[in-house]
């Protein structure tokens, strides 16, 4: 399920990232924030009065903010812990 549709405050893991829809700088920054296949991720808050603003997520122990187009590129699944990378 795409991250921007994933329920808030439900722990999940990154299944895959569609890097091709992101610019090189965006992709690099997401990787530097720890977003990669298998990373634990949790959507915390949707900004904007109608929930169309940015998304705040917990990745590991770090909170980051991203826009909808970034969240749309990230596929998330729930379930057991991912195998160690």
């Amino acid at each position: 399920m795409r991250l921007h549709l994933y329920p808030l405050r439900k722990p999940g893991y990154v299944e895959s990232v569609d890097w091709s829809v992101l610019s090189a700088a965006e992709g690099q920054r997401l990787r530097e924030f720890g977003i990669c296949e298998g990373a634990s991720i949790e959507a915390l808050h949707r900004g904007g009065l109608l929930g169309r603003g940015p998304l705040a997520c917990k990745v590991g122990r770090m909170t980051i903010a991203m826009r909808r187009n970034h969240a749309e590129a990230i596929d998330v699944r729930s379930g057991p812990d991912a195998p160690e990378q």
């Binding site: 530097e32 808050h45 904007g48 940015p54 122990r61 909170t63 903010a65 160690e84 990378q85």
Partner: protein
């Protein structure tokens, strides 16, 4: 002669690196720029355990050695020994956030691989413990192959151990190199970081309790916005309320000094110069220092607590609508203190179009230099009346001026993004740091630095402008027996006469035109310029000397004129420093010229519309 060793503090943004730098160096810091770029260089001296001096440099935060902004590029170049004007550091202190170890270790591994003598400062261990994370520094040190020192910069914990570890690294001043490890690439470093972090964790609970709890309110779509607006409103009201007593003190000092000089010297050129040119001019600016410091206090607090990025998050929905990133909110908010650091802060915006747009609209944020101007006009023309529960009319007008600047900026940004800076925005990606209580000393150092910067402007640009203005206002003297006033007869009076042909239609008089010329140096010069004009003209009226500048304005300007003056200052780019820094940040005169042109056009239209509307409503 042995060169003093250079040690670089390096790490991810939000690791607490600057707090550690402040804790180690105190107020003994030097602020400058790297040559050829406009990235700030912060250095200071510290002593090792045996008294040997070391130069410490605080490098800009970055996530990797693959830069996406000018700041990050400087950090990489310094560490690789490629930065002009900087030596290769003799040692690195890598500062990591203990509560975010896995993510920060990836960059730390990249740095350690360079082979420079290195220490890892495991910072903010108190916050990590608060959030249920316990780490073993010894295990970490073994796995990384470098000393690991636990620190809490904001409480000065671990600093002696850090100095002791630096002793070992800088033995006899000789550089002790470790063999460089082959660079294993991003993915492998990430896997190593995860493994090492897992190994160092003694105990862990899954969440950051305090930050998560506060964010439920701060990032709530509705309550978060209410909180943000409430904070901004408190900031504006405090600018007046908290500054009242200090302002009275400064005014008393200026009056006493003026009286002393008047009593000590005979009437003549020297006394006129000292009283009207120097004391009156500089005093009229220094008297507003309290307001500026109150504003800076709030901005520094928002940054130090970690709330600043939440504000950017709340604003991103709106910012995106005008083609900007929520990340632009931070430079724009900084521009409320001063557009110069605000424009420089845009260096953290990677996308060139976002960055240029933010630079071009930054002067529309109501900078602290406007406060002296607004305070005099509002104090003189707006009744000190309460218009609601705890809402003063004067505070409300000030708030309205801020809002006018913001709305103007957003409209301009929207227009720019579909014209001169069009193109797809690359988005908004930001780390949101943990909440923490700021260290009072860090706030004080920040306030001190900004006070010094402001007073230097008052002491140089403004003082020079005041003296030049005094000369223009004082020469040539009218012949004995002439009925023409001294001001009208002066050079400045004649220049203002010419300028006023353009300005009269929007309600400005000759005195205003006269004040706008030196106010190009800095907005607050308008206050000292007006003080000088009216003070000089009061030479032949002793009673007038007792009235404040505000009272004098009230007697000479109509309300529509005063309101038009306020509208002019919302938009007009009256700040040579802002124009200069724009040139440096955009590497040429093209964009500064564009900025000056469009802002003056906006100011003229705004003042005109205000004057004509107020006149039509019968406010005159």
């Amino acid at each position: 002669m042995t060169t003093i060793p250079l040690v670089a503090l390096v790490g991810n943004p939000n690791a607490g690196k600057s707090a550690l730098f402040n804790a180690l160096t105190g107020a003994r810091q030097k602020l400058g720029n790297y040559p050829g770029v406009t990235v700030e260089r912060k250095s200071g001296r510290i002593s090792l355990s045996d008294g040997r001096p070391v130069e410490l440099v605080d490098l800009p935060g970055t996530y990797s050695l693959d830069p996406t902004s000018p700041d990050e590029q400087v950090t990489r170049d310094v560490i690789l020994g490629r930065q002009e004007g900087e030596r290769l550091p003799d040692a690195l202190v890598i500062v990591v956030d203990a509560a975010n170890l896995e993510n920060h270790l990836r960059f730390a591994l990249e740095l350690i691989a360079l082979g420079l003598p290195t220490i890892l400062a495991l910072n903010m261990v108190d916050l990590a413990t608060r959030d249920g994370l316990e780490l073993d520094a010894n295990i970490l040190s073994r796995d990384l192959g470098v000393p690991v020192i636990a620190t809490v910069a904001v409480r000065k914990r671990g600093l002696d151990h850090l100095r002791g570890a630096l002793d070992g690294l800088l033995d006899g001043g000789a550089r002790v190199l470790r063999p460089a490890r082959p660079d294993v690439g991003f993915d492998a470093r990430r896997a190593d970081a995860r493994r090492i972090a897992r190994s160092a964790i003694v105990a862990e609970t899954p969440s950051r309790r305090l930050t998560a709890a506060v964010d439920r309110v701060a990032l709530h779509p509705f309550f978060g916005l209410i909180l943000l607006l409430a904070l901004l409103f408190v900031m504006f009201q405090a600018v007046y309320a908290w500054s009242e007593a200090p302002i009275a003190m400064i005014e008393g000092w200026a009056a006493a000094t003026s009286d002393a000089v008047t009593a000590a010297l005979p009437d003549g050129l020297l006394r006129s110069f000292l009283v009207d040119g120097v004391i009156n001019g500089v005093g009229s600016v220094v008297v507003f220092l309290p307001q500026i410091l109150v504003l800076f206090f709030f901005i520094l607090m928002l940054e130090a607590t970690g709330y600043m990025t939440r504000a950017a998050f709340m604003m991103d929905g709106l910012m995106a609508r005008v083609g900007l990133s929520g990340r632009a909110f931070i430079p724009l908010l900084s521009s409320f203190a001063c557009a110069v650091p605000g424009i420089m802060a845009t260096r953290t915006i990677s996308d060139p179009k976002d960055r240029l747009t933010t630079i071009l609209i930054a002067p529309l944020m109501t900078c602290s230099a406007r406060l002296p101007v607004y305070a005099v006009i509002i104090g003189a023309f707006i009744p000190a009346r309460t218009v609601g529960p705890g809402i003063g009319l004067q505070g409300l007008v000030l708030f309205s001026l801020y809002v006018a600047g913001i709305i103007g900026a957003f409209v301009v940004a929207l227009v720019l993004r579909i014209t001169v800076t069009k193109g797809k925005s690359s988005g908004f990606l930001m780390e949101m740091p943990k909440y923490q209580f700021p260290r009072p000393q860090d706030i004080l150092i920040g306030l001190w630095q900004r006070a010094v910067i402001f007073l230097k402007r008052a002491g140089t640009i403004i003082f020079a402008s005041t003296v030049i203005l005094w000369l223009l206002l004082s020469f040539p003297k009218p012949p004995v027996g002439s009925t023409v006033s001294p001001v009208s007869y002066s050079i400045a009076g004649r220049i203002a006469g010419g300028l006023n042909v353009v300005m009269a239609p929007i309600g400005f008089n000759r005195d205003i035109s006269l004040a706008l010329i030196p106010a190009m140096a800095a907005r607050e010069v308008a206050v000292s310029a007006l003080a000088t004009v009216y003070s000089l003209e009061a030479n032949d009226d002793e009673a007038a000397l007792e009235r404040s500048l505000g009272d004098r304005l009230k007697g000479r300007w109509s309300l529509p004129t005063a309101l038009a003056f306020l509208a002019w200052f919302v938009f007009a780019p009256q700040c040579i420093s802002t124009i200069a820094v724009t040139r440096r940040e955009t590497n040429g005169w093209r964009w500064p010229a564009f900025m000056v042109g469009y802002l003056f056009a906006l100011a003229y239209c705004a003042a005109g519309i205000t004057f004509w509307t107020a006149t039509a409503l019968g406010l005159g």
